[in-house]
């Protein structure tokens, strides 16, 4: 069976042979099959709006699609999607290999710092003796996000980083390799399979350290020591099945009293906690061994059935403890059989199978991904369509994230507009502050002469409280069911991103716009070592000179249209555009005898126009 993907087809305008009047034929959204389209004219200079991959979007639609599928469109991408269609572009992207390995890039920076320091012959540093800081991860992340061609993967990986959360606010502060290596797992699995993703994060030392099951030990009744329950709880609550039994459309299954039915209780947690025992660093010698060096965070955790810690500590008569919990392990109504503890790795594999095959995973993960990429309040039907693809990609494969991403982004609800008033009034999502930043950096094609961006994003975090892998807890920057007080909540709707909107971050964002545009300082360059010469060619500025000719009052509509398309896919209302145009028109402007605008006043007009577009609720709510 072929995957049934409902294409994002819009109202098509055609010409009737009889009347030559324009007619509207709707198809696609209702899965109409075998549609034949016949040209009404012999003229071969017409513009193609249909190709074998489907309907070609206009520029605004392409821009909207890219606002969901990337960290921010630029004009070239919009043109690309406009001319080849969404699906072809998606297929191209889904087939691109991982183009940027964060850990390797971090290693390159690390080595260059070591080399620079060793130019002083008195020094003899190595990567082991030169420590890095978290912000080296941020520099690495930004470099990849600005240069990698697999832009869809970068968008999806960011979404995954807000679902399968680890954060530098933890024991691995400040070990940037912990962050890059974990992010590489998300990048690698973004177009892979959910089960593999769950497996890889469950063996990753960054997760092991963050949710404290690294070096987790079997029960010792004599010592009154029990397996750590942290990961067992959060892997169920946040990474796989959630708190309540779900229908395929994401709604909660109700019992006879109309109450939701919990998926697990504390006994399930205690049962699963026994499974995640016996894992230590990949370069460890025994369970309980400590962090060795910067590479420790880059290797999958190693399994130990038995604990030889005392032997390595040179006890005269070492006792051998079970590292992995012996016996059966029961959770979620299933029992993993008793095995020799040395075979305990199979327990972990069984547990990951039980989790990833639970019927909740499809609707649970689908809803989260839709919320990260497209909208806060997906309809049950939308969730069901995506979850169905999650459960079976059409070829019998469960958890195929490629198919899931495609189903999310090509769904009619992602590309269309709701027809009923309630859905219209609750459509869209507040763009995350960090995504807004990337919209600007990518949209305006911030370039450096060196091709290197050294941006630690420090002031950004300070102002808006968000950069990747910096959430306050495993519950992400905001939670999927957060509803701001007021009408949305009264209607039972959510708006997760509003959880980090407050008078501080709101002001912080406007003031950040001020810094990026008015103060012309969009990125933060920091020296890698004391005394390093400032490298202007790694510290980019926007070049807006091409827009100067659009700053005269009569040309302002073109200027605003351009950025309305780029940032807001044309969704700025005429009222909003008028407010902005009136403001910009009131700014000084002059030009010389040849009609060339004075560069200072033109520059300021462009910059303030950008600030206002990016401050407008029409932009901020992506819908």
């Amino acid at each position: 069976m072929k995957p049934k993907i409902t294409l994002c087809l819009f109202t098509l305008f055609g010409l009737s042979l009889n009347t030559f009047a324009q007619q509207t034929v709707k198809f696609g959204m209702g899965n109409t099959k075998n549609v034949t389209v016949t040209a009404s004219s012999q003229d071969n200079t017409g513009i193609r709006t249909l190709i074998e991959n489907g309907y070609l979007p206009n520029h605004n639609q392409a821009s909207r699609f890219l606002s969901q599928a990337t960290l921010g469109p630029n004009m070239a991408l919009i043109q690309n999607v406009t001319s080849q269609g969404r699906e072809k572009w998606l297929d191209e992207q889904l087939n691109l290999p991982v183009s940027f390995n964060l850990t390797n890039y971090l290693g390159t920076i690390h080595q260059s710092i070591v080399d620079s320091l060793n130019r002083n012959p008195a020094n003899n540093y190595t990567k082991t003796t030169v420590g890095l800081d978290n912000w080296h991860f941020d520099v690495t992340w930004f470099q990849g996000a600005m240069t990698a061609p697999d832009v869809l993967r970068w968008r999806v990986a960011l979404a995954l980083s807000e679902i399968f959360v680890v954060s530098r606010i933890s024991d691995f502060n400040p070990y940037p390799y912990a962050l890059t290596s974990y992010y590489d797992v998300l990048m690698r699995n973004a177009f892979g399979n959910y089960r593999t993703l769950l497996n890889d994060i469950s063996y990753h030392p960054t997760m092991g350290s963050y949710l404290t099951f690294l070096n987790n030990h079997a029960t010792s009744t004599t010592k009154q020591i029990f397996p750590d329950e942290n990961y067992a709880r959060e892997v169920m609550q946040l990474f796989s099945i959630g708190l309540y039994q779900l229908n395929i459309d994401g709604t909660e299954v109700k019992d006879a009293n109309n109450k939701p039915i919990p998926t697990y209780d504390n006994n399930d947690i205690a049962g699963l906690a026994k499974v995640f025992t016996g894992l230590s660093w990949g370069d460890s010698r025994y369970l309980g061994d400590t962090y060795k060096n910067y590479l420790s965070y880059t290797l999958p955790m190693k399994f130990y059935g038995k604990d030889s810690l005392e032997f390595y500590r040179n006890y005269s008569r070492p006792r051998v403890y079970d590292a992995h919990e012996p016996g059966t392990k029961t959770f979620l109504g299933q029992t993993i059989p008793a095995r020799d503890v040395m075979q305990g790795n199979q327990d972990i594999q069984d547990a990951i199978n039980i989790l990833s095959n639970h019927p909740n995973v499809g609707p649970f993960i689908s809803r989260r991904l839709i919320q990260r990429l497209v909208m806060s309040n997906p309809s049950p039907e939308y969730i069901a369509r995506v979850a169905t693809v999650f459960n079976d990609n059409g070829s019998g494969v469960r958890g195929d994230l490629k198919a899931v991403i495609k189903a999310i982004l090509l769904d009619p609800d992602a590309c269309g507009c709701p027809t009923n008033t309630t859905a219209q009034n609750t459509s869209g999502m507040l763009r995350e502050p960090f995504v807004r930043y990337m919209n600007v950096m990518r949209g305006l094609t911030l370039t450096t002469q060196s091709g290197v961006y050294r941006n630690i994003m420090y002031r950004l975090y300070d102002k808006v409280g968000q950069v990747p892998l910096f959430s306050p807890s495993v519950f992400n920057f905001f939670q999927p069911d957060y509803a701001p007080e007021g009408e949305l909540k009264a209607m039972g709707k959510v708006a997760p991103e509003f959880q980090i909107l407050n008078s501080q971050t709101l002001t912080g964002y406007i003031n950040a716009l001020n810094e990026w545009f008015i103060n012309d300082d969009p990125t933060d360059w920091w020296g890698y070592f004391s005394g390093e010469r400032y490298k202007a060619d790694q510290d980019p500025r926007f070049n807006l000179t091409a827009d100067y000719t659009l700053t005269r009052n009569d040309k302002l509509p073109q200027l605003l249209d351009k950025y309305n398309l780029l940032f807001a896919h044309g969704s700025l209302s005429s009222q909003s555009l008028k407010i902005i145009k009136d403001a910009i028109s009131s700014m000084p402007y002059s030009e010389d005898a040849n009609g060339v605008p004075d560069s200072t006043s033109a520059n300021r007009r462009v910059r303030l126009a950008l600030v206002l577009i990016l401050s407008s609720p029409d932009y901020l709510i992506n819908r």
Binding site: F226, G428, Q479, G486, F498, L501, Q504, L506, T507
Partner: protein
């Protein structure tokens, strides 16, 4: 006509604007008290503030308040503690002893021990306890109704909090005190709903947060005004355009007016509307706050440089300009996280507990300096306590634990509630082999005592604390717990709308 232009609008903005659906008033979602004026009472004549410190992650409070008795056959608390906590136990000779802590009983549940000490780094709290300015609550936690023992807990007949042991649930329930709901307003928000009308400026919330949005301060008409700990008038509001732009003053005005116009439009889409309202409310509050901050006096009380100390210092500074903010009632909220110590517990506690103790002590000293120590009550909350038994490196999620309450109006020098027995086998409030205790005191009783002191009438307690009736009903001179000093505090008899809440 170019076919590509047929569909001008890709998004959903042009799909027709409709009139507002909601019959609700324009409920403000941020900073504001611009909604319906719920409270019309006469303003209270005095000033009072509550300061809530959320120790996010679940502090291991059985290592902050520790039994010290070592008399086998008598008060043998320390030995029972150390036998159960094994590698997590603190050496007895390092604990800081409390003078005659008078831990008695609560709701007929006896306190299990007589002698107590605090974590070795809690000198500030030890000193304030011994001078009567700090009290501890023992085995307090989230409850819908009283649960007397393990049998009742297991009976299926008692309403239990949702998601016992789950961070996201318990951290929220400590802030809402409505453990049967994932959708409740916060205690501080509901207090503000009742009392904000007594403040002069309704443009600025009486609820200040140093930690952004939070459940505690979320009411029907009030939520938090979020500030940074950089208490500087120049740090409030939108930055002006740079002076090197000629006529920057004028252009700043142009920008601000345009932003104001953009957020003053009518938006049918509720996300856009919510964002717009947030912006409008924030900008309305800026001017008042900015002006007030120019009046902050210099203060001599020294604070540490850690995040919590800087936040507490900022709160002291905001309190110092209460007159200029036109406020008689304020509620402050600050989070200090990092307590989810499944591993590295002893070291972690040694790093974080002294920060709390010192920041609170400095803050108390600052209120003394401002002459309002008896007007400010500060308390700690946390997700939950942690298992008394060890996981080899730390402890896991549990339930009832111990908290601190501090201020000049606190009947300090006592431990309230009922400290549990350090025995997982026989203690009838223990519900797990790991050592998880059914709380003796509910968050409702704790908050009710604060609310009465804060000026809520007994009739209105049911709005602030919808479940309180399961635990307590008011009678003259019979307070929910007894940790506040009501001498000279008149219990309000005003009956304010709105009516009781129920969940």
């Amino acid at each position: 006509m170019n076919r590509r232009d047929f569909i001008k609008q890709s998004g959903c903005a042009a799909m027709g604007t409709t009139t507002l659906l909601s019959t609700l008033t324009n409920l403000t979602t941020f900073n504001g008290a611009l909604g319906a004026d719920i409270a019309k009472s006469a303003p209270p004549s005095d000033y009072k503030a509550l300061v809530c410190i959320l120790l996010a992650g679940g502090i291991d409070s059985y290592n902050t308040l520790v039994p010290m008795g070592n008399t086998p056959g008598g008060d043998n608390g320390y030995n029972e503690y150390s036998a159960l906590r094994t590698d997590l136990a603190i050496d007895r000779n390092q604990l800081l002893a409390l003078n005659n802590p008078q831990c008695s009983s609560f709701r007929g549940i006896p306190c299990q021990y007589g002698a107590f000490g605090v974590h070795p780094t809690m000198t500030g709290m030890r000193d304030l306890f011994n001078t009567g300015k700090v009290a501890f609550m023992a085995n307090i936690g989230t409850l819908v109704e009283p649960i007397m023992n393990k049998t009742e807990y297991q009976s299926g007949l008692k309403k239990l909090p949702l998601g016992i042991y789950s961070h996201s649930d318990q951290i929220m329930q400590w802030q809402t005190s409505v453990p049967q709901s994932r959708d409740a307003l916060g205690v501080g928000g509901r207090l503000a709903d009742l009392l904000h009308a007594s403040n002069t400026y309704q443009e600025i919330s009486m609820n200040f947060s140093l930690s952004g949005k939070n459940a505690f301060q979320r009411g029907q008409t009030i939520t938090e005004y979020s500030i940074s700990n950089n208490i500087d008038p120049n740090n409030v509001g939108f930055q002006a355009l740079p002076s090197w732009w000629s006529n920057s003053g004028y252009l700043t005005q142009v920008r601000d007016n345009a932003i104001d116009s953009l957020v003053s439009k009518t938006y049918a889409n509720l996300l856009q509307k919510t964002y717009s309202t947030a912006t409008k409310n924030s900008t309305a509050a800026f001017d008042i706050f900015k002006q007030a901050l120019t009046k902050v006096p210099s203060m001599s009380t020294a604070f540490g440089t850690d995040e919590l100390s800087r936040n507490m210092q900022a709160i002291a500074k905001v309190i110092s300009v209460r007159e200029f903010l036109g406020t008689k009632r304020q509620i402050f909220f600050v989070t200090y996280g990092g307590w989810d110590m499944h591993s590295n517990l002893l070291t972690g506690m040694n790093q974080r507990v002294p920060v709390v103790s010192q920041a609170l002590k400095s803050f108390y000293d600052a209120t003394v300096e401002l002459g309002i120590a008896d007007k400010v009550t500060t308390f700690t909350i946390s997700d939950f306590a942690r298992t008394v038994t060890s996981n080899g490196q730390g402890s896991d999620h549990a339930w009832g634990g111990n908290t601190i309450v501090m201020g000049g109006s606190v009947n300090g020098g006592k431990i309230y509630g009922s400290y549990p027995k350090m025995d997982v086998a026989t203690y009838n409030r223990n519900i797990s082999f790991r050592g998880n205790f059914i709380p003796a005191v509910s968050t409702d009783e704790f908050y009710a005592e604060l609310a009465l002191w804060y000026g809520v009438s007994p009739n209105d307690l049911c709005y602030v604390l919808p479940n309180l009736g399961n635990f307590y009903s008011y009678a003259a001179n019979q307070y929910p717990v007894g940790f506040m000093n009501f001498n000279g505090t008149a219990i309000s008899n005003e009956d304010l709308p709105p009516n009781c809440l129920s969940y």
